[in-house]
Structures are given as C-alpha cells and as structure tokens.
Symmetry: C3
Subunit: 202 residues, 3 copies
C-alpha cells in the first residue's frame, strides 16, 4: 500500500465520521450519540466486509490511527456543527468521493483474499455503503440503500468496471482512478437529473 | 453432501430470494432495493450462523452458484411480480418447506463443527429465520419472529426432534425427512388453527 | 479465571436475560418472543465483541452453562412477570451492576487478545451495552444508547479508569472493584440528578 493511499483512507474515514456525526436527530443529539454514529458510519462497512471474509484483525482494530481519524472527525463536527450543516451540497460531494474510493479499495481487499470477482464486487459495495446502513438501522431511519436515488447501484457499477479493467491488465493506479470516477460521475449525474432505477412493481 | 441435497439447497436459496424480493414496499421498490432484499433474505441466516460458529468461507462466498441462484430468484420475481404476488398461499407453502429444510441442514452443519446439541438447535433455527429477520430490520418492519404466529418455535421443535432421533441412531436421510416434516406440519397446522404460544404477560 | 468471577458472569447473564425478557411489548409478547429477547440481550454484547476480535468459540457456544443461565432467567421472568415488572427501580440497580461488571470483563478479554488500550475500552463498552442495542433494534425501539441519560458513557469512563490503574500496576481484583464502582456510581448519580452530556447541536 502506498503512503498516498494510506493517507486517503484515513482522510476518507475522517469525512465519513463527520457525515455520520452530523446525522444526529433531535431524539439523540448528545455528544455520545453523535460520536457513536460517526464511529459506526466510518467503520461499519469495512467491518462487515472483513467479518464476512474472515479477515482479522479488523482494519481499525489493527491500526489505531483510524480510531483517531474518527475522533478528529467527531470533534470537528462538534465545533463546526452550525457551519458544516449548511454545507449540505459540499457533503454530498465528499460523501460521493468517499464511497467511490472505498468501493474500489474494498474490491481490491476482497480480491487479495482470493474470492471470486462477483463476490469482490459485492464486498466493495458493502465497504462503501453498509456503514451508513447500520447507522440508519440504529436510528430507525429508512436505510439510504432503499431510497429512490441511485447510490449503491453506482458502487456496484464502478466495481464491475474495475474488475473488467483488471481483466484487461490496465495499470492498477489508472484503474483505481477510472473506476472511482465512474461511481462519482454516475451518482452525481443521477442526482442532478433525478435518475432512478426501474420500479420493481410496475 | 449428496447431489440431491446440493440441488435442494440451491433451490431453497432461489425461493428465499424470490420471497425476499417480493417483500418490497412502496418506499423502496426499485430494482436494487428488491434485489438487495432478496439477497439478504437468502443468505442472512446461514451467514449469521457461520459467523457465530467461525466457519469460513461463508457458504455463498465459497461457492458462487448460490449467488447465481439468488440472482435468478430476483429476476424471476421481477418478471413475474404481478403473477407471483397473487400466489400468497403458495408462497407460505414454499417458505415453510424452505425453513423446514434449512433448519435441519443448519443443525447438521453446527453439529459437524463440534458444538453441543443445544447450540446446534439454536443454529438450525437461526439458519432458517434470521435472513427474514435481518430483512425486516432493514426495512423497519416488525420481525416475523415477534409476530403472534408460530414460526421460529416450529424450527426449534423440529431441531430438537432431529437431535433426539440422532441419539436414537436413526438413519440420517430418514431423520432429515421426519424432522423437516415435523416443522412443516406444526407450522401449517398452527396457521390453519391459529395456534399461538402462551402469552408472556398473562 | 477464578470461580467467583465465573459465578458472577453466569449471574450477570441470568439478570440480563430477565431484563431482556421483561422488555416484551404488546406486539410480541408470547413465550418465544420474550425468550428470544432475553437471549439476545444476554449474549449480544459479548458476541459482537468476540466476533470483532475474531475470538472463537464465542463464550456461550463454548460453555453451555451460559445458555442454561439464560433459560433460567427467561423462566424466572415468565413465572414472576407481574411481580418483577413492579420492581423497576430494583432492575435499574441490577442492570447497572451488570453493565459495570461486564464492561471491565470485556476490557480484560480484549487486552488479553493483544489489542491496544483504546480498542479495549470500546470493546468493554460494547460487551456491556450492545446486547440491549440489538434487542432495541429488533423491536424497533430507540436504542438505549441514544437516550439522553448517561449510559454507555459511564462504561467508557470506567474502562478508561481501569486502563489507567493497570498502567499504575494496581492489583487486578482491587482494580476490577474500583473501576466497576466508577461506572456504577457515575450512572446512578447521573440518573438521580438527571445529568446529561453536552448537546451536540447547541
């Protein structure tokens, strides 16, 4: 793992923790509740992936820096709450960068553990979105997965693009950039033009 | 494992995926939401069992055919939604066959990993019902476990019957059929005659 | 592990199972629903901790006595429901003793598996409170974690005290008593004087 990637992962964790902590609602808005939600949002997806793959130690248990990135995120959210909460649009941007990047990192980790490409794609998507899903379940919200907007589908698509480009022997760093960009663009475009998937019931 | 059992497991997974996908509600009825629910319903119980027992790789991660059985189930649910949704009674039948069979398979797997019979009974029940419970939690429904009808209790009873017959050295295939039948009959009878367990509060 | 500690753990499991079973609501108040909730409340926290740490077998799977402690708790709750439900104040007391003790046991287990102290503190808190959180999620309640009262925070504080006293080489049994007492006193005082954490939104 390059130093750049490590820094990006810590940064992504930091932003996930901020967005989790900002999701506090009226019924649970104290320091602990917000901190816990920041924590769960940041580590949930990767934790579920690693438990399903039987990969120990979990990333945040093996490397304490991730815990400090989360703590820093929660503290940042605490001191700049009023300011950050107005930056909703900026946060959709950060969140989208985050899920794009974490999807591909998750796919790579799963592949490195020897699973089939189809499983790796699911694991990549899980890494990116399940932290938010667990957070939503804990707070009795409808998980973001089930909202009409395109979210996890973009992650799946990017994961598939990554896997195809691996087959084509594309350079790994270029592939990481391209397939992350696919997720990012697909999600932003679908927000802007309110694209949705076909309805199941019709 | 015999070929017949393998085919039955794939078939059970296929039916679980259909019943999960059909459970879409108005607030999350797109293709991804339904597919995800089919997936979770089909793999949730076995995944929880194997994680609790520390048995890796998880079944659907080690054998890609289960993923394709799920995909086929979701696609079937998509194309025949209007038709299938009218078959409610048929689906209770399929679901009951499914939980009967998966309970006993789960008990056997737990026993083969060396746990005590009491634990194996719980694991069998988990294999059968926890996929639906996770699905219900994700969609903010009251989990089927907590509804008045007899559901998980039938699984527990069948698991106990299986364990007793193992003690009595009954042939395994015959045992599988008898104890699955106990679950099936107990559940169908309790639906028909609206049987319920004693109320806890009285 | 001393015999005393083993007895205390079984006793704690017994009380957790009672308090879980008593939490039945009108929509799921049969024998199975209550038993399942007792079970989940009693084993949830330790199970999540051990899965995250990759420590197998899980405590209740490796030692069948824990299952019997739970069963006894559920049966006790069933036969003395009307009596026990009036003892609310007594139960807050038992619950507080329970989380105080289980937090420190959880910290010790995590430390013994070689994780960093910060991680051990989180694992101790998880051991104590996540059983109740999982129970609340299954029944669509707001998890106790997110209520205004001080709960998990007390566990975290006690865990930190324990870790500091370990650094200072205090005798282990004395440390266990002191840091459990910190949790107990902090929680009881905060209930009595309605102390809350700073509000995140301000």
């Amino acid at each position: 793992m390059t130093t750049l990637q490590y820094v990006l992962e810590l940064l992504g964790t930091f932003f996930f923790a901020i967005s989790g902590a900002l999701a506090v609602r009226d019924q649970h808005d104290d320091l602990f509740g917000a901190g816990f939600m920041g924590f769960v949002t940041a580590i949930g997806g990767g934790t579920l992936r690693d438990i399903m793959l039987g990969s120990y130690p979990l990333v945040w248990i093996g490397d304490i820096n991730f815990l400090y990135a989360i703590l820093l995120g929660v503290i940042t959210a605490y001191f700049f709450f009023k300011y950050l909460i107005q930056l909703k649009r900026t946060f959709v941007l950060f969140d989208t960068i985050g899920i794009s990047f974490f999807t591909i990192i998750g796919v790579e980790k799963a592949l490195s553990l020897g699973v089939q490409p189809e499983i790796a794609a699911i694991m990549g998507m899980f890494s990116a979105v399940m932290g938010g899903v667990i957070r939503d379940v804990l707070t009795n919200e409808t998980p973001v997965l089930f909202k009409k907007e395109i979210y996890a589908t973009a992650c799946l698509l990017g994961a598939v693009v990554y896997l195809i480009l691996v087959k084509l022997n594309l350079d790994r760093d270029i592939n990481l950039i391209i397939s992350s960009a696919v997720i990012f663009v697909f999600r932003i475009v679908s927000i802007k033009y309110k694209l949705t998937l076909p309805n199941f019931k019709r």
